[in-house]
Symmetry: C2
Subunit: 256 residues, 2 copies
Amino acid sequence: MIEGTSTAALLLIGNELLSGRTQDANMAFLAARLAEIGIPLIEARVVPDVTGIIAEAVNALRPRVTYLFTTGGIGPTHDDITAASIAQAFGVPHVLDERAAAILREHYPPGELNAARLRMATLPQGAELIENPVSKAPGFRIGNVYVMAGIPKVMQAMFESLKPGLKGGAPILSESVTVYLPESKVAAGLAALQERYPGLELGSYPFQMQNRSGTRLVVRGTDPKALSDCRAAIVAMVEGLGVEGLGSESARSDRR
Amino acid sequence: MIEGTSTAALLLIGNELLSGRTQDANMAFLAARLAEIGIPLIEARVVPDVTGIIAEAVNALRPRVTYLFTTGGIGPTHDDITAASIAQAFGVPHVLDERAAAILREHYPPGELNAARLRMATLPQGAELIENPVSKAPGFRIGNVYVMAGIPKVMQAMFESLKPGLKGGAPILSESVTVYLPESKVAAGLAALQERYPGLELGSYPFQMQNRSGTRLVVRGTDPKALSDCRAAIVAMVEGLGVEGLGSESARSDRR
């Protein structure tokens, strides 16, 4: 696991994730964007729309990380209970926020700001707003907990709004080498390299393509020199196994 | 949240999920298959390839549910530490399993069962095997914990192997009504219906299509009569809002 000066956890909130109805897309996005600014995501949880369960998870996770992000449950309907749950977790009242109400009042035509929509301006007391350039209803931050929408496009916009306030570290970089060998053939060499580079994270991911067994070897870390050395050592290790034509065909490397 | 006589939790294991490299596909599959046999998934967690963290999560989740499923980390490389972590969680030795070794010995050509592959036969003492018809290396069960591969095709085959041993309940059914109205317009009616049908789970999921705001209203539960009544009540509620032409255009319902 990559050690970071800052760390993050993610709480995905919503019955639709646990019913299989919706395939989450937020974790992969946030993980990648956080890595870019040197904040490793170290845990994620998925919980249903139940106040006590959300509050318990928030209180379990927020002391363990620098930043806790949540997605989902901040819309206008009865099952949108994230704000109330977070108020409960922090032991503060759940109240109409005048700044959020003003944003909604400006956004909707006269008469359209009904009780359901005002629910989206009812926040834990003391929360700071997170701007929502897509659909206006804001997210919010309280303590180290950042509360965002579940709809990917809105969540992504909120993340861009809040990102300047995060204190990250060196970007987490990644390189990979793809080889047409089963994992078991590279296992010993890879384990030796992991010992040689304890500050890097080496992973191995098998795949099947055109009836051939392949493995993608991934190395991650914050030290560009160590990363580049380790990648070269992986290539040398694979070549030492006598893979024919370790060129673009049987093995390739790419930066991501 | 749907109450079930049996419940399940899911532990997704792997650095690749927390780095954003891999988009998980196992949660949605398992959630849907478990719902079919009446076992609601009530929580999921994602943890990195770190023994202590995996063991801690296993021990936190397994007393809370009837069944805990894990995916990932049972391959032949150094980062495949799920079996060792689960042995630690249960306080049992992590030993070569002769039944698993025999399966691998039969599968691989002579001389191909190297140390890395034998790692896949090294299991918590007392574990029962879960058959893997795809790539042979078995999953395993110990106590109420079912340990499966991370590769979706292999995980799905393992789940079919173990499924006959699960004790479920009435299937969790779902119906949905799609309407071209923003969520806020249906919020009050939906909240009233949730109160009228406390045994069902009503959810509301907004979408944008062809520049129109729509909402999919989803109702889930195990009682087919209540489900059908509630669906009819949702349609009546939406019609009461004066949505023009609640036919196939402005609203439709489908069974899933």
